[in-house]
């Protein structure tokens, strides 16, 4: 094929995506997909480095990273009329970062995974205060996607009403008893499997790794509720391949593809029309009720405060 579309995606479950999304799309468009994978920060850094002459046509990243890129003028404003499935999306997914710079394609919940045979978790606050968790708990690093979510929930649990500085100080005070601040969920899974850590906040998309372990893991339902996040699609500015990119985005958002991806238990759908079995739903962040109950931090809040958080984190937590 003489047409190619270069996309940048998260690296997990590429085999499943290939079956559910890439292969059928290549069939339809008669083009080649070139796929770059990696975690969102690295991919963002490269999009920025290549801004003058974009290599990537279309990328999927976290909503606040999308906002950051948008603010640097690296993204193209989306013409939603070119996305036939746009109306089927949950409202929250339609314009998550404002100005139509991105559309959401999946939601995820975020809560605490813990060893049900050793401990019970009722509240996010337990992470810092439960005696049994001293030297047995890991938290996500503030620089990752999960970090701000945990910060938000700890803030809520301690009734600090958005005074994140105070929450970071609390984490700093407890830092000696925290095994590590992880940056990859796979790393956390390894640590929990070798019993280095018995509880830690984690995104729902990683749950399957814990569920299959011989150890007794459970997904907490803390009284503050679960945190939530969304991953979005964006298009780089001036990539010259817009038509194909729209075609691909639309295909990915279609009920067909979203259902296939959901049934493979990879991504939870952002398309309202997707219907799945209870058993599948159990593993996903599925359904309007659940999605509406999630504590979601506006991307703008994260972007605005992150530098300050990292700064404070570096002085008080990492020390």
């Amino acid at each position: 094929a003489d047409k190619t579309l270069t996309i940048s995606v998260y690296s997990f479950a590429q085999d499943a995506y290939k079956k559910a999304l890439y292969d059928p799309f290549e069939e339809i468009c008669g083009c080649d997909l070139v796929i770059e994978t990696g975690n969102s920060v690295e991919r963002m850094a490269k999009i920025e480095a290549n801004a003058a002459k974009p290599v990537i046509d279309m990328a999927v990243i976290s909503s606040h990273d999308a906002l950051a890129l948008a603010q640097k003028g690296l993204l193209a404003k989306l013409d939603t009329s070119k996305l036939s499935s746009f109306d089927k999306l949950y409202d929250a997914a339609k314009d998550p970062v404002g100005d139509n710079m991105a559309v959401g394609y999946t939601f995820y919940a975020s809560s605490i995974v813990y060893r049900k045979d050793l401990i019970s978790i009722d509240s996010w606050g337990d992470l810092l205060t439960n005696e049994k968790l001293a030297n047995n708990v890991a938290l996500p690093n503030i620089t990752g996607t999960q970090g701000p979510l945990t910060l938000m929930m700890l803030n809520k649990a301690n009734g600090q009403n958005g005074d994140y500085a105070k929450t970071i100080s609390d984490i700093g005070a407890a830092a000696d008893k925290i095994v590590t601040f992880y940056s990859r969920s796979s790393e956390l899974a390894q640590l929990m499997n070798q019993e280095e850590v018995i509880a830690a906040p984690v995104g729902r998309f990683a749950w399957s790794r814990f569920k299959s372990s011989p150890l007794d893991f459970a997904w907490a339902n803390p009284k503050e509720g679960q945190a939530g996040g969304m991953n979005v699609m964006v298009m780089t500015k001036g990539n010259g391949n817009e038509e194909l990119a729209y075609q691909f985005m639309d295909y990915w958002l279609s009920t067909d593809v979203q259902t296939r991806v959901a049934e493979a238990m990879i991504d939870s759908p952002a398309n309202k029309d997707v219907k799945v079995s209870d058993e599948v739903a159990e593993n996903l962040t599925y359904g309007a009720d659940l999605i509406n109950s999630l504590n979601i931090m506006p991307p703008a809040d994260i972007i605005a405060q992150r530098e300050a958080w990292v700064e404070q984190w570096n002085t008080e937590v990492i020390k």
């Binding site: 850094a45 590590t180 601040f181 992880y182 640590l191 070798q194 280095e196 990292v310 990492i318």
Partner: protein, 273 residues
């Protein structure tokens, strides 16, 4: 020695030009960004860097770990190299093969092996608790100890290689001569072996120290964000904060550290004789 220097220059130039154009120039441009501060040329970025307590701490930790790894590698390296040199030619080849074996293994995998070994239920803790040396499993992962062990294993082969090759250049009968003149083994080491292998020590020391400073995978995985080193901090500055200036500052610091350590070691080595 052939004296036609033009021919010599022609032979050396391709390598020098390659390193210069394809390597030093781009790196130099990047590093020069660290001298851009508030729109002009200044050392402001460096002042700012060293004014942050975390950065100071990371700086000194990196220095300390680098020195400790190099020092320990030198001690173990001498013992091992001396044993290797004393082996028969055949056994020497085989042992040498085993020593360089770790170099063949991806550092990624090597480091993950340490996660398994140093874990709460890993072999080290099992042994310590089993022997009654420790009551409860020690927390080794994500500590400086873990990073130290990982780096040591990573770079020890380089030290052994340098020391073995410089020990082989010790003239044949010099050690027996010292023995016959009344030196015990410690004196043989300090007065004969050490001065005669200092070149190997300088090369090995520089390789290990520089390697420890600029290693990325090991501190990233075994230390995580709790044991930041300059290289992992550099990565964080680039990737998380897009802060190229701080990254350049850190890179420049690393280069200066490596370079001055090399000079210092050379100086010490030549001053002694």
């Amino acid at each position: 020695m052939f004296l036609d220097s033009r021919q010599g220059l022609a032979l050396a130039l391709p390598a020098a030009l390659f390193a210069l154009l394809m390597f030093l120039v781009p790196v130099g441009i990047l590093l020069s960004e660290a001298f851009q501060y508030d729109g002009g040329w200044s050392l402001g970025a460096y002042v700012e860097f060293f004014s942050k307590p975390l950065y100071q701490k990371v700086f000194f930790r990196t220095l300390k770990l680098g020195a400790m790894v190099a020092g320990t590698a030198a001690i173990i390296g001498y013992a091992a190299a001396f044993c290797i040199v004393n082996l028969s030619a055949k056994a020497r080849g085989q042992v040498f093969g085993l020593v360089v074996l770790p170099l063949m293994i991806s550092p990624v995998a090597r480091t993950y092996a340490w996660i398994v070994i140093l874990g709460r239920t890993g072999i080290v803790n099992d042994t310590l608790v089993g022997l009654g040396i420790a009551d409860t499993p020690l927390r080794l992962l994500f500590t400086e100890t873990a990073v130290f062990i990982g780096l040591l294993q990573l770079f020890l082969p380089l030290m052994i290689i340098s020391l073995v090759s410089s020990m082989e250049n010790i003239p044949r009968d010099v050690i027996p001569a010292a023995r016959v003149l009344g030196a015990n083994w410690l004196q043989v080491f300090t007065r004969v072996i050490l001065p005669l292998t200092k070149e190997g020590l300088v090369i090995g020391g520089t390789l290990v120290f520089t390697g420890s400073l600029t290693a990325y995978i090991t501190p990233a995985i075994l230390g995580g964000s709790k044991v930041l080193m300059l290289e992992t901090l550099l990565y964080q500055r680039v990737n998380v904060s897009n802060d190229f200036v701080a990254a350049s500052v850190i890179a420049m610091i690393l280069i200066v550290m490596s370079f001055s350590t090399n000079l210092l070691l050379k100086r010490i080595a030549t001053a002694r004789s």
